[in-house]
Subunit: 115 residues, 2 copies
Amino acid sequence: METALDQVFSALADPTRRRILGMLLEDDMAVTDVAEPFEMSLAAISKHLTILTRAGLITQEKRGRVKWCKLEPLAMREAVVWIESFGELEPLNYDAFEQFLQNELKTPAEAEDGS
Amino acid sequence: METALDQVFSALADPTRRRILGMLLEDDMAVTDVAEPFEMSLAAISKHLTILTRAGLITQEKRGRVKWCKLEPLAMREAVVWIESFGELEPLNYDAFEQFLQNELKTPAEAEDGS
DNA sequence: TCAATCGTCAACCATATGGTTGAATATGGA
DNA sequence: TCCATATTCAACCATATGGTTGACGATTGA
């Protein structure tokens, strides 16, 4: 079984996908616009976007005939946390971790004071 | 051309290699000893170690007939820096994260019932 | 000296990955 | 309605990846 971490790291291992993430930092984008600066087919970019979506690094929402891509930096932070503390995290419960991150992002103040 | 970042991220994308890195956190190890807990051939582990070496995540030094593997955590820094360059990444709430970790590190049963 | 140990190499295999092209499926707008 | 636009699908291709086995070279130690 492929873990979330596997998917995040292998998604980040491709320069095209990292460049796409960098573009999405500016703003949400339509698939066609994401593909525009690349010298490869739209279908190829579409596949890259699927990989980024499965890794949780972006989400895609279809409005009309346009599918908008949005950066989801949460997924990357999981990777950073692993790198920064991979020794201690050995038997990490990823479900609980995900919940922790979700909670923290949703209500930072509440998460801080534990209420 | 494969960048350093490509190599680090794709090296980290494999669970066997992440586990090896975790083992090397404890201490330097001989190739044979690295391979021991895995249910795969020594040759397979040797290949994984080559990949980790090319990514700069470990170094290998041969003393006598034993080749010692040493963790090189600085190589991961480049990856962290790339990820953190994403401005939208809110700084992690380390206090809350610490609490989460403490809870995680208890036995699974304890963590489950929250005691 | 000579067998045992350490680790890699070479050949091979199955599957994954990253790309292509052309057809198909919405949806929007005139 | 009908065409253009947005995106994916399907088939295909070349190469990469992660594993195997068996042979091999280097080194140790009895």
